[in-house]
Amino acid sequence: MEIEIRGLRKVYPGGVVGLEGLDLRIPAGLFGLLGPNGSGKTTLMRILATLLEPTAGEARVAGYEVHRDKAAIREILGYMPQEFGFYPNLTAYETLDYFALLSRITDKGERNRRIERALQEVNLVEVAGRRVGTFSGGMKQRLGIAQALLNHPKVLIVDEPTSGLDPEERIRLRNLWVELAGNRIIILSTHIVADLAASAEQLAILHQGRLLFAGRPIELLAPLRSKTWIIDVEEEELSRVRQEYFVTGVFRSATGMQVRVVADEMAHPRGYAAEPTMDDAYVHTMKQAGASELD
């Protein structure tokens, strides 16, 4: 089971280009989708979730064509958009019951079992009887995940929000994705690059509707190995270092400032070798594409 994307192109009415001829293969497992705002991540996910028609090209989800087999794809799909809301007058349990009905889980016993299980998975069992209108942002996010899990989806598409989850919750969910990503495809669009190093089997970086990278996290890190350095700098020499080196991050340490850079060789007296991180690799990739605003 996999997702196959060939020459996928989306031009919005008005001429804005969402995707510019994308070729991608997404296997089973956790698949991370990275890229700045407006890079085409949401466009891609909405097309795969059959909510948006592509202008050209084709995409097959588990063998189903997104143009034609929408109903079939929706049967095996779990989708959590970046922004969403619920009906405030229904309780969490009733909300899930509503969405389970929309997923055509018509047997009452089966529906109840799945709702119970989904509530456990997102840790909302205790507030199942509370109206959703009283929920905090984080609780709504978790309910959003629960509704996507109801039909035991073979394909789970999650457009992660930029905010709303506290750190502990975030780690719990990251673990949940890894647990769930056994035999199914999970596409996770996220802003927290670092998390993907340990959890994602594959990832892709999009920029302006084009694919900058696709592969395993380790493949993204590989070119930076023995090319990543940390330099302890004085505050006044920061701008000079920025001009000389490919800077991927600036940090404040106890002794002064540290700059992470990517370079073939290190000439700076206070520079030393470091292990590349996902953040380094991501910023490096984006900068090479001329996309970063960090400079």
């Binding site: 809301g85 619920f86 229904l90 929309l102």
Partner: protein
């Protein structure tokens, strides 16, 4: 659609109903409507049939309008709560079943409001010690089904239709046609829910089907099944158009007031000392009763309208007279002037000693010049209630205007003495 899917759709309708009745809007409308119903059922002497009739009027002119808004709000809920994408990504979330199920839920919630209002009026009546007469309230409830369905469907569908060029076209045609065809508005306003229920029912169904079609299209649902739904919509609209044509053009309810022959008859005088114009009018069961049925008997003919409680007292006064002169051959005939033939049933059952007949007409409340009822024109009615006293030969011997028991009693005893 299989049985399990139907059951799922019914469950969705139930959830939609919950969504509706848990909102503040629902209880606001229910409370305001109930207060109005209680107020209209409060005047001394208001009978159950009158309380139910007044509540139905509030329903038709108030709740039906609100139903448009409630339906529109329900259809826009997904967009308002940003839940559209969650719903659409589900297999049933993008099909017509969802639209129909949601409509059913909203309709049910508005009918609940009507039921609450009727119950409020009924409790008010019970507190006042008036007989219950469940049938009168049931009659009013049944008559609200179709108009509430149409109003809800209008609001529900317009939300999705107004954004489409088709709807813009329909609206344009409508606004061009209204000034051109001036006779059109009376046709519409003369439609009554009880006599013409197929019109709102069919139109409502067609609107919901249209909404379902456009909903599916907006979501790019797979083509399968869309043709069938579009076809159904077309057939429903065509049926509604035919039914409207039949009622408006060929039906027995054509506006007789504009009939030249009737206008000529209306020019006859119906004064004291002249022979009363004859008539054939239906009673509550639809049987035609004629003035000639009472040949050789003195007749009290009372015109009244349920729109004004003051005028409705005429039926009580006449009932009293009928009891008093029982066994002396007098016929007491009450002509209920209303747009809707179904009104006369409950009132007739409340006054078994009267012959309760229906004449199509309109009344605009107390003191207003009010009647376009054909028989009212012929009898040169100036106000309701008016009593006409006819002797054994069918000659009008007296005419009493206003609901005065004393004046009627005086005139009646004169009539009975004179024979």
């Amino acid at each position: 659609m299989s049985w399990t899917e139907t059951r799922a759709a019914l469950r969705v309708a139930w959830r939609e109903y919950q969504l509706s009745y848990r909102g503040a809007t629902f209880w606001g409308i229910a409370a305001a409507g109930s207060l109005l119903a209680i107020w209209r059922a409060s005047p001394a002497g208001t009978s159950a049939a009158m309380a139910a009739y007044q509540t139905l009027q509030i329903t038709l002119f108030g709740i039906a309008v609100l139903a448009i808004l409630v339906g529109a709000a329900a259809a826009a809920r997904d967009r308002r709560e940003v839940a559209s994408e969650l719903v659409l990504a589900k297999p049933m979330g993008s099909t017509a079943h969802l639209v129909v199920a949601r409509f059913a839920g909203v309709w049910l919630s508005l009918l609940t409001i009507v039921a609450i209002m009727l119950a409020a009026a009924m409790v008010r009546q019970a507190v006042g010690g008036t007989p219950w007469r469940l049938g009168a309230y049931g009659n009013a409830f049944a008559r609200s089904l179709a108009p509430i369905a149409l109003a809800t469907a209008m609001g529900f569908s317009l939300t999705s239709l107004l954004v489409s060029p088709l709807a813009a076209g329909v609206a344009a045609v409508y606004w061009v046609c209204v000034p051109l065809a001036r006779g059109y508005m009376p046709w519409v306003s003369d439609m009554t829910p009880a006599q013409h229920w197929p019109v709102p029912a069919l139109l409502g169904a067609a609107l919901v089907a249209l909404a379902a079609t456009s909903y599916g299209k907006a979501l790019h649902t797979p083509g399968r099944g869309r043709v069938g739904l579009g076809g159904t919509t077309g057939v429903l609209f065509a049926a509604a158009a035919l039914v409207i044509l039949r009622f408006v053009l060929g039906g027995e309810d054509a506006l007789v007031t504009r009939d030249p022959v009737l206008s000529a008859i209306a020019a006859q005088r119906s004064r004291e000392g002249e022979r009363a114009p004859g008539f054939w009018l239906p009673d509550g069961a639809g049987r035609l009763v004629g003035l000639s049925d009472f040949a050789g008997r003195p007749v009290v003919l009372a015109f009244w309208g349920p729109g004004s409680p003051e005028s409705a007292r005429a039926t009580d006064i006449l009932s009293e007279a009928a009891r008093k002169y029982r066994g002396r051959g007098i016929a007491c005939v009450a002509v209920c002037v209303d747009r809707d033939s179904a009104t006369v049933g409950p009132f007739g059952r409340e006054h078994p000693s009267l012959v309760m007949l229906w004449d199509r007409g309109q009344h605009y409340g107390d003191g207003e010049r009010w009647s376009d009822s054909p028989l009212g024109l012929v009898y040169e009615l100036k106000e309701v209630p008016t009593f006409f006293l006819l002797d054994r030969n069918g000659t009008v011997v007296n005419r009493v205007e206003g609901a005065s028991a004393y004046a009627l009693e005086t005139a009646l005893s004169d009539l009975m003495r004179a024979r």
